[in-house]
């Protein structure tokens, strides 16, 4: 796609999304879009790790949950006792809490990045899952701080001050919709800039061939940690937005299924592509609601969801966005399409060194 076409289409998209609440009066659908949007932000952040550095993080929800809890706790205030010494925090404004949450999630990302990038591949998968489980169990059991299974309730909503308009409450569907839209655009821009730079290339290089990447002077740990920090901070942002929208968080935000949802969005959309998580997020964010329209049992909906996932992997193994892009290339008759995937009966296995 030429630059002009892509620019025009992104302007059209943003225009469409900005005007959507003006003519869409189905509040429930707006709600679905908000939740999908929050997950898209999380999926975009996951894509930075999964798609660009090639590190399969199955604990990404930990950062999302940490963001949600940090922002909620900061805005609600708390009093805890560490070794009988009371520590209290007075409630802070929501915007400030969200900043704290993003920073804190980023710090957790830094910590996890530092300690876990000694291990790669399958081990990293498990370390990340373990990290998410541990955070969930802490949220579940540290009653004094998190209320455990009783959930943090009555989380305040965000207030913005706009010049000329004054205070705006981000409460209810429409304001939250715009908030999520804004956050999503910012996330997109940050990730886009990152991947089209030295840093992004370093990450991709690590994914493609780590020994070779280090041989040309790329500091593996540094860029993996950078990717985790940015990714964790953005996921934390998504979590904070989520918490102040639904206004309740419980330890189940750390559930594995949410990571899975993000992974599904990234991979079906097309990992390592900028638009992939958005497309995947829209499909898998809205699909459950579409299925609900058929008035079938929820279990059946989920079965369809699972089967659909399998079919997408079979028929669009690289994800939807690359498939569409290839189709577009073929349609516009461009040459230089990448060679067809090996589909011979015997696909050669990688020879070991």
């Amino acid at each position: 796609m030429s630059r002009a076409v892509s620019l025009a289409s992104s302007v059209a998209w943003v225009g469409f999304l900005v005007t959507l609440p003006l003519w869409m009066d189905n509040l429930y659908f707006l709600h679905v879009l908000i939740i999908a949007g929050i997950f898209i932000v999380a999926a975009m952040s996951l894509n930075l790790l999964l798609g660009y550095t090639g590190q399969l993080s199955l604990g990404h929800v930990a950062f999302f949950g940490i963001g949600a809890y940090a922002s909620s706790l900061c805005s609600l205030g708390f009093e805890i006792h560490v070794l009988d010494v009371p520590i209290t925090l007075a409630p802070k404004p929501v915007w400030f809490s969200m900043l704290v949450a993003v920073t804190f999630a980023g710090l957790c990302g830094w910590f996890i990045g530092k300690i876990s990038f000694k291990v790669r591949g399958a081990y990293f998968v498990i370390v990340s899952v373990s990290f998410a489980e541990v955070t969930r169990l802490v949220a579940l059991n540290w009653l004094e701080l998190t209320q455990g299974p009783m959930a943090l309730n009555n989380i305040p909503f965000l207030k913005f001050w706009f010049p000329g308009i004054g205070d705006v409450d981000i409460l209810g569907k429409v304001p939250n919709y715009y908030l999520v839209l804004g956050v999503a655009i910012v996330t997109y821009v940050i990730i886009r800039r990152l991947v089209h730079s030295r840093a992004g290339r370093a990450m991709i290089a690590l994914r493609e061939n780590e020994p070779l990447a280090t041989s040309v002077g790329i500091d593996v740990t540094r860029f993996l940690v950078l990717a985790t920090v940015v990714s964790a901070a953005l996921a934390g942002l998504a979590g904070a937005v989520y918490a102040h929208y639904v206004r309740i968080v419980d330890p189940d935000v750390f559930l594995f299924i949410y990571t899975v949802t993000m992974v599904i969005m990234v991979i079906t959309g097309g990992k390592g592509t900028l638009a992939g998580p958005i497309v995947g997020g829209l499909i898998f964010g809205i699909l459950p609601e579409v299925l609900r329209g058929f008035e079938v049992k929820p279990e059946l909906q989920w079965i369809v969801y699972g089967v659909l996932m399998i079919l997408i992997v079979y028929f669009l193994p690289d994800g939807i966005v690359p498939a569409v892009r290839d189709a577009w290339k073929r349609w516009t008759g461009r040459t230089g399409a990448p060679p067809a995937e090996p589909t011979g009966t015997a696909v050669p296995a990688e020879a070991r060194p």
Partner: protein
């Protein structure tokens, strides 16, 4: 023909699935009975039942869905105290009343939410009712094992306060996650504590396992379950002889329907339950849904229209002869924002030789 929608949010899956499903089945019986008798205000009622998956955030989502998408004027739910507490702000936000059929935490009616109307007893009511039995059972030292949610923690707090007031020593207070299945560590500790009575507060699935595992570990303390969601019949069926000797509070004793305040609706409910082939073990739970829907239907009748504000006002005037007893609401909580609370009866039963026996209360 247009119908009047009534929202129901129950845990149909997850940790509290058994109880949630029973409540939903009881609610269905009430729905059919009301519709067979011509519905309310000349319209049929229609239950919209959503599964809150035993999770507070999901519970909020179901209430949101019921109100925003299905536009129900009134809701019944959400079984567990935690789930109920979670959805309460949404009721306030959308100004829709909810009848609470199971939850026991005191906070629900004391936090100043004028949209909740509870027909089930609070833990405090239960503990107070239990007081005379302390001496009768000869309790000297008690241990606690409860879920670490509002239901379990609230109950343990009320009971331990009451017991201390009676001069009973309190040993260990162990908690568990509502989804846990292996309690050997907690029970080993409780055994080491050496109390004569163990108070257990959780849903029936975990009670079954606790009875079995206590027996395996030779825990000799008398086990008393509180909260009324312990389905003695199911315990007998699933825990076998490990259930013998345990005590259970219930709010409806189907084994002796003669003792209840209103035998008439109780018999109707029990007959229909049997006819539909539902689990007999669910009788002690299903009646909550049955009563809840009747209460709501009566309120709609009094309101004269299916609108949230009108129904809320009408609930204060509602009087129903239910399985729970004579249901009517008294005011609780801060003045101006009171919640409704019903005062039902509490019963204590004992399992002996694979049978449920009366036991004092």
């Amino acid at each position: 023909q247009e119908t009047i929608k009534i929202g129901v949010t129950q845990p149909l899956t997850g940790a509290f699935a058994a109880s949630g499903n029973y409540v939903a089945q009881g609610a269905r019986i009430a729905e059919d009975e009301i519709n067979a008798a011509g519905g309310v205000l000349g319209k049929k009622i229609q239950l919209v039942i959503e599964d809150n998956k035993s999770n507070p955030t999901e519970a909020v989502a179901t209430v949101e869905k019921l109100i925003v998408r299905d536009k129900v004027p009134v809701i019944m739910g959400a079984w567990s105290s935690t789930l109920t507490l979670a959805v309460m702000p949404k009721l306030q936000e959308y100004k829709v009343p909810m009848v609470v059929e199971t939850s026991s935490s005191g906070k629900i009616t004391t936090s100043g939410n004028p949209y909740v109307f509870r027909i089930s007893p609070t833990s405090e009511m239960e503990a107070v009712a239990f007081k005379p039995l302390v001496a009768k059972l000869g309790i000297k030292k008690a241990d606690f094992l409860n879920t670490n949610n509002d239901f379990g923690i609230g109950s343990a707090a009320e009971y331990s306060k009451m017991l201390k007031g009676q001069g009973v020593a309190v040993g260990v207070m162990e908690t568990m996650d509502p989804k846990a299945t292996d309690f050997s560590a907690q029970l080993t500790r409780i055994k080491a504590s050496g109390g004569d009575t163990l108070f257990v507060t959780t849903a029936v699935e975990q009670v079954t396992l606790i009875l079995k595992q206590a027996k395996e570990l030779q825990l000799n303390a008398r086990i008393i379950t509180t909260g009324g969601s312990n389905s003695p019949d199911q315990l007998i069926a699933q825990a076998g002889d490990a259930a013998n000797g345990s005590f259970h509070t219930v709010f409806f004793p189907p084994w002796f329907p003669e003792v209840v305040t209103n035998p008439e609706p109780a018999k109707r409910y029990m007959t229909e339950w049997q006819k539909r082939g539902h689990e007999p073990g669910g009788l002690t739970e299903g009646f909550r849904g049955y009563d809840g829907i009747f209460t709501i239907a009566e309120a709609i009748k009094i309101a004269g229209k299916a609108e949230p504000a009108a129904i809320k006002d009408a609930l204060w005037k509602t009087k129903v002869k239910g399985v729970y007893g004579n249901i009517e609401f008294i005011k609780q909580g801060p003045a101006g924002n009171e919640s409704g609370q019903n005062i039902p009866s509490v019963y204590l039963v004992k399992i002996d030789g694979g049978k449920v026996a009366k036991s004092g209360l």
